[in-house]
Symmetry: C2
Subunit: 254 residues, 2 copies
């Protein structure tokens, strides 16, 4: 018996989110089903982050204990052979027996993709939010800079646990544009419920000139008075990476 | 009554191809259904190109006759309101009453996207073909250059009509790579059945070093002796543009 950590990618469109829910198709549900085919019989895998229905991932981290007498690559192949098309194990490593993907995580990276187009675009809207009018990149960057650092984000979401702290530390925010889309990336130690989608929504309103950049500051300085309306839709969001301290054992083919 | 031409984009994943087939979900079927809601009652729209099941489009062209007393933009909005999520009208123009999107087309552009990855990648494989080992760009370019010009492509597909010519003129081929994928673009006056997917498949084999570039030349010089095995899968292919002579009337808000 050893503990393994797995990097998971999934297209969230056809999942009711990441966490197991009875009777619904969830990422945790299909991963546990694939593991059971390899003789795994514990009650539950450990997942680093919760993603909402429709949110995608390229860097979700899952850990579990398993008796496995072959290599990590073999385990990856075996899991991918039984996982459905919209989920894949991108990497497998053996890890320390007390590793916990959620509690040990130092930061989580999310990316959000936006296309600016007045007309529906079926080949892009599965993985992006379509908005119109277009976004002013300078205003987006100005708004995002305000988010840097440690703030009380109570205006942008509820704590996962009732009465829990709403203070979070954002270590990095970037907006960039190419021909096809505008993209936002945020790295923080942790997030409130719906926080990234609320932050994207208010920045889009700022980028479209519907709100003043100063409003972002007001929400951070006077947390919790009221929440700005609106939530960016899930299909633009991707949980792209979770980082761990360097001493977290990641010994490939241990 | 006037003739309209429409540029159509669709995600081909959930369609049994572009052409109407009784009892199956096709692009033509959903477009005709949307038109009927606007009072259209002809038997059939005219489509520029046939796309196989699973092949996508950003530049399919469709024409139809309709009594419509509002602007082309209004017609676009009305159609998009009743079309399903995986099809959209990207542009509407009024055109001449004898315009035929297939017979009047001068050239068709297809793009094919490939990702090189040994592991499944759920967020990319809806719109790309995943291959491994990776592709050598110089070999791809060398192989594609051979395709330029007018050749008998009988080794790469059947003519749409039995006994029809298998000679086609390729005016442009390019391969390019970025971080995420390798892309192929081809412009020709017309294509044989499955021709683009066969050409992509043999070039991938050349790019992976499994075949010699010279084989491409042999197939073009000795057409029809035998066809190379293998067809690139449909999900990497996009019908991206169809071009018409400059005198084809495209009078927006005629």
């Amino acid at each position: 018996m050893a503990r393994y950590q797995v990097i998971l990618a999934y297209d969230g469109t056809d999942f009711h989110g990441s966490q197991r829910q009875n009777g619904l198709r969830t990422v945790q549900g299909v991963v546990e089903k694939a593991l059971r085919q390899l003789g795994w019989s514990n009650s539950s895998v450990l997942m680093a982050g919760r993603t909402d229905a429709g949110v995608h991932a390229t860097g979700q981290v899952v850990a579990f204990d398993l008796v496995w007498n072959h290599t990590c690559e073999d385990l990856q192949h075996a899991l991918n052979a039984s996982l459905p098309r919209d989920v894949a194990v991108r990497q497998v490593d053996r890890t320390s027996e007390d590793f916990h993907p959620r509690f040990d995580a130092q930061s989580r990276t999310y990316q959000y993709r936006i296309i600016c187009d007045p007309v529906r675009d079926p080949l892009k809207e599965r993985y992006a939010w379509r908005v119109w009018p277009p976004l002013d990149l300078e205003r987006l960057i100005e708004a995002s800079q305000i988010l840097q650092g440690t703030h009380d984000f109570a205006s942008f979401g509820r704590a996962p646990k009732k009465g829990g702290t709403t203070i979070r530390s954002v270590s990095r925010v970037i907006w960039w544009q190419d021909e096809a889309c505008s993209s936002f990336e945020i790295v923080a130690n942790a997030y409130l419920y719906h926080m990234v989608r609320r932050l994207v929504n208010i920045q889009v309103e700022i980028g479209q000139g519907k709100r003043d950049v100063k409003e972002m500051e007001t929400y951070l300085k006077k947390p919790g008075n009221r929440m700005p309306q609106g939530l960016a839709p899930p299909q633009g969001l991707v949980l792209s990476a979770i980082s761990y301290p360097p001493n977290t054992a990641q010994l490939r083919n241990f």
